[in-house]
Symmetry: C2
Subunit: 142 residues, 2 copies
């Protein structure tokens, strides 16, 4: 539990939860998880498969996951050094929650995009000209 000595801390406050969200919410963490879900991967393999990640970010992400006990790092003293990464048992427990969030995405992300278009459209309309009443059939499902 978070320290009650913290100022502004409320027992009900989800700041604890928010910090946990940071574990999964960072940009590359999710992508790394997706790769490691399939099994151990080497650093170069991850680098190759995760489009657009820099060494710095990949290393940083992996270090954080290692520190959090979600990923295990193994170094093999081969001639050109070899390192591979694996999800720990703790890391595996996060897969299901992530899947659920993923499923939410697939089920509702279209609605989010649609809501955005509607919202932006409303803004544009209001911006361009301000009629007393919008005559457009507003498909506001809520």
């Amino acid at each position: 539990m978070p320290h009650p000595s913290q100022p502004g801390y409320e027992p009900e406050s989800p700041c604890h939860y928010r910090r946990a969200l940071e574990v999964v919410s960072s940009k590359w963490t999710v992508l790394v998880f997706y790769e490691l879900e399939e099994g151990s991967k080497r650093y170069s393999e991850l680098k190759k498969r995760i489009e657009g990640v820099t060494q710095k970010m990949l290393t940083q992400t992996l270090r954080q996951l290692e520190r959090d006990g979600l990923v295990k790092r193994c170094v093999y003293p081969t001639v050109p050094q070899t390192v591979d990464y694996t999800l720990t048992t703790l890391g595996l427990t996060l897969i299901e929650p992530m899947r659920i969030l993923h499923r939410w995405t697939e089920a509702h992300y279209d609605s989010v995009l649609q809501a955005r278009r509607a919202y932006d459209g409303r803004l544009d309309a209001a911006d361009g000209a301000e009629p007393d009443l919008a005559d457009a059939a507003n498909s506001d499902s809520d």
Copy 2:
């Protein structure tokens, strides 16, 4: 890549999922959700209950949630303006996934903290045990 309009993002890549994560992962979004889960709240009420949030951040967060169709904003033309916010039906569908992540937190966050201490401890030990290098023991903890 974070931005939708940015070139070089693939529709099939989990970046789609990542973008969806952004919907919930931002610092204040979760806290707003926690408040609205209990029912409609007014702006000032949210501001008062969410410790440490600035007007800018609160407004920004609410705007984004509104744009994403997760929150409904209602303005009442009372003498001092009154505005309140409510979760939409779409917003309500997100509660369950968030709860599951929350539950993961409660079940495993101790393990994460423990892993961190172990990791940091190992680093300190490795630092101290290396006499050839700097023996200045800088005990910097989390």
